[in-house]
């Protein structure tokens, strides 16, 4: 069953994130995709995520499709104007990509091409509307399309530091849903109790909520997130658990798997982020019982 149909029929969806290479060596990407084929409902392919120049997400998405893995492709506003974005969206449909997520772009200054000229011809809400307009057979200039594309389009909520930031994120997310977003990806879950109260607020948006489960690859990463992102809610207890573990890598996998298992009863799906450790996805899914 497709990602879209699973969402529509309230089935739990399992998504995994896979980055395209910085270069043309696609062997790892293809191997990772084969490993999880049939075990996840779709792979989310980011595009120049964190401002790092990589092979474009559309090529990554097509590679996934060729492996028989459904794709959800990131689209964003930093690097392309409305002409390029619309052209790519039409191309994505023709190449078999049926799912999009409109995402926030990391500021150019934070990426690896900080001297590049940012575009931002459209903003996220404008882009969601543009996708909707293309689906109705019109481009942004109002001209008729010869064949309209079809997608389910989602949006995301960025990590937030405090209640005020969350309120602002929710307010923007409400506008994104009004503009046409049909599902929402939320930040990594490290504390189920905190997530429960967060989820209640996000559910008010009226679209399926898909939280992120982030693989803590090391104690250092867990400590870094705990210290730098107070909104992530990584507890001292969680840090202790990783520190005391005789196999910290395995502990991270256990934590991710257990989190997914717990979320299964609460949400419409999960997005698993492994940031380069996609080969660990099968082990995480095993723990999660998926």
């Amino acid at each position: 069953m497709s990602f879209q149909k699973r969402l529509q029929s309230n089935e739990f969806v399992v998504l995994a994130e896979m980055h395209t290479p910085k270069g043309v060596n696609i062997s790892r990407l293809v191997t990772d995709a084969r490993r999880i084929k049939g075990r996840v409902d779709a792979v989310v392919v980011p595009d120049m995520d964190n401002g790092i120049m990589r092979m474009s997400a559309m090529a990554g998405g097509v590679l996934m499709q060729q492996q028989g893995v459904e794709t959800i492709m990131h689209v964003y506003c930093r690097d392309r104007n409305r002409m390029a974005i619309q052209g790519d969206i039409l191309a994505a449909h023709v190449l078999g990509i049926q799912n999009l997520i409109v995402v926030h772009s990391e500021d150019m200054s934070q990426g690896d091409h900080s001297d590049a000229k940012p575009v931002y011809d459209l903003d996220e809400i404008g882009l969601i509307k543009a996708i909707g307009q293309l689906q109705k057979g019109k481009d942004l200039a109002g001209f008729d399309l010869d064949g309209e594309p079809s997608f389910i389009t989602g949006c995301s909520i960025a990590p937030y530091a405090d209640d005020a930031a969350l309120a602002a994120e929710l307010s923007v997310a409400r506008e994104k849903v009004a503009a046409g977003a049909r599902f929402i990806i939320t930040p990594p879950v490290f504390d189920l109790q905190h997530f429960t109260s967060f989820l209640a607020k996000v559910k008010e948006l009226g679209v399926p909520v898909i939280p992120t489960v982030f693989l803590l690859k090391s104690l250092a990463i867990a400590q870094y997130i705990a210290n730098s992102e107070p909104g992530a809610h990584i507890s001292d207890e969680l840090i202790r658990r990783i520190r005391k573990s005789p196999d910290r890598e395995q502990e991270g996998i256990l934590i991710a798997g257990e989190t997914i298992a717990a979320l299964k009863a609460m949400t419409q799906g999960v997005l698993i982020q492994t940031l380069g450790w996609e080969h660990k996805l099968p082990a995480i899914l095993d723990i999660a019982g998926l």
């Binding site: 200054s109 900080s114 001297d115 590049a116 000229k117 940012p118």
Partner: protein, 222 residues
């Protein structure tokens, strides 16, 4: 100078219609030079607003004033005694002046009466043309004093493109090709070798690529 053009009267009427008393505020700097928002234009706009509102059966009290510089807090402070007596301010300064008013008088609606256009120079009486985009890393020393960022439609660093014909840009015969101008000027200066130098992709960070810019002069900052 920063150039500007007055907005259409219809748009301005809609801004001021809800108010009984407004302060119409000119600026004695750039917008005076480009005849968009100086003392004279304040008077003309005040008359225009009065007449247009009278025609639609309403009236408004317009207090006219022109500051030496609206983008400078020191001069804006001069408005303090006038502000309580008005419901809103309509500024004829560039966007910098409008924002300075909004910053200083938080409880007072501020409306722009002009569209700020570009940094430019006067070509002849009544004609101003873009000359600078404030890219923060001036190239003029390499391009014969002619800016390809402000004056080439494609902002080419290594022009001209195939659309350059007879010294004109493909976007219109009334637009000079910046790179044709650069070539002519470098020839005059005997610096033709500069023309064939390949310039690298531009670093857009000083031009605002990394967000709003600020200059801090440690020797002057308080």
């Amino acid at each position: 100078m920063i150039t500007a053009e007055r907005k259409p009267l219809e748009e301005l009427i809609e801004y001021v219609r809800p108010f009984k008393r407004i302060l119409l505020l000119g600026c004695n700097e750039c917008v005076t030079v480009c005849a968009a928002g100086g003392r004279k234009e304040v008077g003309l706009l005040a008359s225009g607003l009065h007449m247009a509102l009278l025609k639609s059966g309403s009236t408004i009290e317009i207090r006219e004033h022109t500051l030496e510089r609206q983008c400078d807090p020191e001069y804006v402070e001069e408005l303090v005694p006038m502000i309580d007596g008005v419901d809103a301010i309509m500024s004829m300064a560039c966007g910098c002046g409008v924002q300075e008013l909004a910053r200083r008088f938080k409880g007072k609606p501020v409306f722009p009466a002009v569209n700020t256009k570009f940094m430019g120079a006067s070509e002849r009486q009544g004609v101003w043309a873009e000359r600078c985009q404030g890219c923060g890393d001036c190239l003029l020393g390499k391009t014969g004093g002619i800016c390809p960022i402000a004056r080439c439609a494609k902002q080419l660093m290594n022009g001209p493109c195939g659309g350059s014909t007879g010294g004109h840009c493909e976007i219109g015969d009334d637009v000079d090709c910046a790179w044709a101008l650069i070539w002519e000027r470098l020839k005059e200066l005997g610096q033709e070798e500069r023309f064939v130098e390949i310039m690298p992709a531009k670093d857009w960070r000083p031009g605002g690529g990394s967000g709003p810019r600020k200059i801090i002069r440690e020797d002057l900052a308080e």
